[in-house]
Symmetry: D2
Subunit: 423 residues, 4 copies
């Protein structure tokens, strides 16, 4: 058997639709260039502008825009996830940016299709405008979910009703791609007449008065993702075109669909990082020899053991992720009708959280073992493993849920209890 | 959300063919009765004769016999595996017996189909005879692979050429179902003229002169599987109808296909045992209350944490097993032509060994946590958990490979090295 | 290096006082006989009467009785723990019984010493009577802490004031040694005038009217420990000689000292079981050879890996247990004065719970790997490993705390929060 | 209980000799300043010159120099290890440098004592010169053990006999403190007349002709340790004052004593890093509150669980390290006579490797959980956790043995086999 045999790995994630196959082929081509530039972007903590420009030119940034509008027409979340996975093998930060961006066209394309089918021009126009702008490379979409001192379900960014719409004040953190986006998706809290509160969301153009993107992104890893702080100081957004995410502090179907679809791509990003590390380590131990015997490193029992541990973890990650993404596709399609079941979505979200926990944890383990396989050389910044070990660590920090919380959520949903966590 | 929501688990193994769906429905019906009888069979270490009789009557023992011959016509190894999984939820020992038995018709049905299609009556007749005997409930097939002091690839049971065929002498151990079978599948070693040796296999009728089945099965678990020692003392078997498994000590395509197809069902058995334990524990913590607060056990943080750990492991096991079994189906179908690729089969076997290691290990963990969830009550023999904890421990002991060895094999295949282990 | 080198393991638990050294030497002698009889007691689920009789004759059952009264004079809880550890290498059930029994003289000997020093004859007499009865082999003490549906801090066994003392009604479970003891230590709940309740404890003679010991002990393991159910039906106990364990549902210093001192020996029992399994497996792999190469099993890389995993776990268990027991000795001596600090005891209890979790968990892992090392042979009931795997599983079930709960307790104490668990 | 209660942790490493107590008190004072400067040194990958200057002024760099010569007189390796542990809580790189440096006076002080006691002035003088130079702050000692493409037992740096001594040619890597040392300890290989080869070692003054220290240190972590490459190009060293480390490729007593004594301090360094991370995380979760409930983070079940996992791991690390270091002290003292037992040292080395594997692995886990406890904030470079997570990863890479190899070594020594690894 040749060493290449391992590369025909049947557990590999593979697209299941034609648009997906086109996306993945394209992503694999891009990944090679991304990998070349990744060390420089990492060192300089600089947004990979040339990467994104290339991805716009090739059409990949329009992966989820309908073909009728000039996009690639990917509808399957599974296949989008596979494409993101391939990009991440080249550069995790870029994959993170592309995933966050692509989630919006993936979410609104069905609305555009429905509005078009219904001949509802009023509804069609704004959606179509945004989708075409993505195709034309005029818009990158960033996200601003996280805030310090609270969780995603309880945004503290406050919207106050004013004549022109809503006036937003507060601060978001970890705003992926915010350093390069034209539009930011922003959830905020508004008071309701009955004393309760509600979570709305809107798309805020970068450059709006009262919106400051702080050039402060200096993290352990994912350094090219421009995940900057965003300060809102009486930033006015229009009252139309808002998304109602439901009662503040509660899971609505929209929240769940958004989180699951977006985060499947995040998980695929960390899997891709782990795959790159594993490939690097395998290449190394199947080509390097060591004194005194001069045999391949891979001939050593301890090396074989580590390789095998990585294969087991990798197989589990891939099997879980592909299975969950296919289930999500089925679930989302089944729910394209009028009524969505919150229970079914919690059940899917529980499965997704199992997958997220396992994949982001095992991805860290795979990179860690890859560094052990490489020995001291992998600890030097000249090795991609040093960067990959920093990038992959972001995985479990993505909300919801941190490993602090995932067990509680999974346990509660499984036991049929109210899935709201102890605050 | 109701507690039942958890039972619509989308990670559940599901059949993908029509015969598979019929098999699984049937297996689920049987499983209920099997579960009722399991404690008694376990206590008495007695072969579950009435179970097997029922499975013969319902046709389940002929799951893999072609429909034209009166069987259920299951061709997909994936679907056979799902059926075995369902039986194992009722009784692991019975599932073990059914799996070992069913592997033979699964392996020879394609031969029968090919011979029939070619009009080769000479080849058709003996295959058809055996397949019909299975349908008629006249034959249960057991297996006798293992021996003490050696591994499966190096059988020490010796065949010596005599006029009437081959004279077998030696001892097999862990002969699943040997205490109740009519036929035993037995590999043995023969010398070759060039000084090398070869592994042949044959089906030996129970009751043959020189064949003694020792009534000695007294194990920690799987106590109803009648996995007895089998002593051969100049036991004569005919020279025709032998299966050539290749050079002694080397992997042939036949060995690999046989091991993978048979052991997927073994793995499914241990998954089924874990599923039964998890179900029992979930039922308990969602219904029992404890002083002083009187709330459900499932309300406690530690309980939720354990439930979640089980869900993650269970999801990984199911995703891995179903994925591997589907890949095996594709691989076996691709190889139904004349040439089989040893490399491709080693690659599949590597994937299977990853799956086997993970599932048998995590199955033990799931049962262990289920016992922790049940508390002291689960440690009493009155609880099914005590039996399940003993049954599930057999998983990693199934050859090839023990956990001693699986890492070495996986590592070597992945690195493109010769996959023969250090002896 | 010879294979014996491993037996001079410097991590071995070793006694630190002279009486401790005598105890350990004696325990090691007994352990050999205990090991011979263990299979039979296990099979028959029978109390090891002849073991205990021998231990009474040799004086080991009086390990903690002062030398002046004819005992061995062991004061160090560390050294008692080492002695229990040695017994457990021979038979876990017997070690469990001896530990439960020995805890009482260990607790009351300081009271006797203090009373004697103070010349307080009234206080001295009953203590001395009991201690001498232990020396004379007239008394084995069992314990009855656990109840179904509640935890140790919240006993539901109810004491009602009657003229003759207290009338007890309720049911205890897992009463270690109850099938053979002359006296049982029994906590129960009494109502207080202010509407609250309190936990008292007393020693109940077996044979008392209204006390029934149910001959029902049939568990997965620890089958010779006679840990039977105990039913109280208006069983009258005298009102004097009671121990006040504090407010019902709250930790008092007495509770903590009792739990820590008693459970250190339990933990040592499970360590001893693991050590016996590891020794058995090491003996096997350093003497058995396997076809085709005929080399020792220990020459195989996978076997070496498993051995090493066991050594790491074993070293951690021993280091943790000996360190915690020495700290406990220091803490208990520091507190022999009038004032005991509940905070200091919770801190010690937290450390103990870390130790208990690690040792009982790793002991299971060590036995599990030992079975893997032994292969299928270890799964047969003819192997001690089958029994050890059942015995060792009792470890994490011992209250307080189950693994359900230990994390919460440790986390709360470490964070300086109220250590009472979510009920 | 107050949150401070956790800081009276009885598992804390504590010195056992008077010089050790003085060292530890001094190290704790220094650690505070080290912690303040650590971020800057890390960012700039700059040797912490001012730290070392302060440590020279306070006398800490002369910890192991005899008191008669002006040093602190620490003889116990255990106590040196505790001092290193305290420094590492402030800055891992500095602790690494101090440990590497201090190992030499620790090793030669007994030689000086013996020579002085014997009145052997010829032997006393050079030792005394070096020891006094350390006290006077004239000498920092670095080490140059590692080379690329080989392991420590098989140095490829070659010594060729010339008139003036030995001419060294080759390249060392990971030369801790080499960027700031005055002397480097360097093992090299020489040919023997019989065709074999031998490993010698010498102290090479920085600045020697033919010695180049490459200013290239740019690693993931331990960035202030100046662990640079060192190139030897016909660098001449004198023939006297050499240390004979035995046959090339074989373990000698000197190798083992050197490795164990030096690496105990390395392990203590990584424990100190983990302790700093844990302290930071505990501080955070016991003071920060989160919306909507506004309760302490430590009130959450998932947070308590993570805290507890850290406490268990930390307790195991501390118990293992202190136990092993005390055993090493006993072993080294027992061997100060003429004959050292290679078997006894391998047994000790095996125990040390168990400790090293556990502590360096668990230290990574503790820092990882601390980052999870801190959430996204811990992933920013503004947090010490980001640096600690990079520093701690160096632990398992320290030779011998990498985790690739440690299992094989431990397994072989335990089984009584030849402890040389498969090459």
């Amino acid at each position: 058997m040749t060493a290449q045999a391992r590369r025909t790995d049947p557990f590999e994630l593979e697209p299941v639709t034609d648009p997906g196959r086109r996306l993945v082929a394209l992503a694999e081509r891009h990944a090679r260039d991304l990998a070349v530039r990744a060390p420089k972007h990492d060192r300089e903590a600089r947004f990979p502008g040339e990467n994104v420009a290339e991805l716009q030119r090739s059409g990949l940034m329009a992966a989820c825009v309908p073909e009728e509008l000039g996009g690639m027409g990917v509808r399957s979340i599974h296949d989008l996830v596979v494409g993101i996975n391939r990009l991440a093998r080249g550069d995790g930060s870029t994959a993170l940016v592309v995933n966050m961006h692509s989630n919006v066209p993936w979410l609104i394309a069905p609305q555009w299709r429905a509005a078009t089918a219904a001949g509802d021009l009023a509804a069609t126009a704004p959606l179509e405008g945004l989708l075409r702008a993505i195709v034309d490379g005029q818009v990158i979409i960033g996200a601003a979910f996280s805030e310090s001192g609270t969780d995603m379900l309880h945004p503290l960014l406050t919207g106050t009703r004013v004549d022109a719409g809503w006036s937003l004040t507060g601060r978001k953190v970890f705003g992926t791609a915010s350093g390069a986006a034209q539009l930011l998706f922003v959830p905020f809290r508004v008071a309701e007449p009955d004393g309760g509160s509600r979570t709305l969301a809107t798309m805020v153009p970068v450059g709006s008065p009262g919106l400051e993107i702080v050039d402060d992104w200096d993290a352990l890893g994912m350094r090219a993702s421009a995940s900057q702080d965003i300060v809102f100081r009486e930033c006015i957004v229009p009252a139309d075109g808002l998304t109602d995410l439901g009662a503040w502090g509660e899971w609505s179907p929209l929240w769940l669909v958004g989180v699951i679809s977006n985060h499947l791509g995040l998980v695929a990003t960390f899997l891709g990082i782990a795959e790159a590390a594993r490939e690097h380590a395998l290449e190394l131990v199947t080509t390097r020899r060591k004194a005194p015997a001069g045999r391949l490193l891979a001939e050593r029992p301890g090396v074989q053991h580590l390789i095998a541990e990585n294969e087991i973890d990798l197989a589990a990650c891939r099997a879980m992720l592909t299975r969950t993404a296919l289930i999500a596709d089925a679930c989302f399609q089944a729910q394209s009708g009028p009524v969505e079941s919150l229970d079914a979505l919690h059940s899917l979200h529980k499965d997704f959280q199992c997958t997220k926990w396992l994949v982001t944890r095992k991805a860290i383990d795979i990179v860690d073992r890859s560094m052990t396989l490489a020995g001291g050389a992998g600890y030097l910044n000249a090795s991609p493993l040093a960067r990959l070990s920093r990038d992959v660590r972001a995985g479990p920090l993505m909300q919801p849920f941190s490993p602090n919380e995932a067990f509680e959520y999974i346990g509660k949903v499984t036991a049929g209890l109210n899935p709201i966590l102890v605050g």
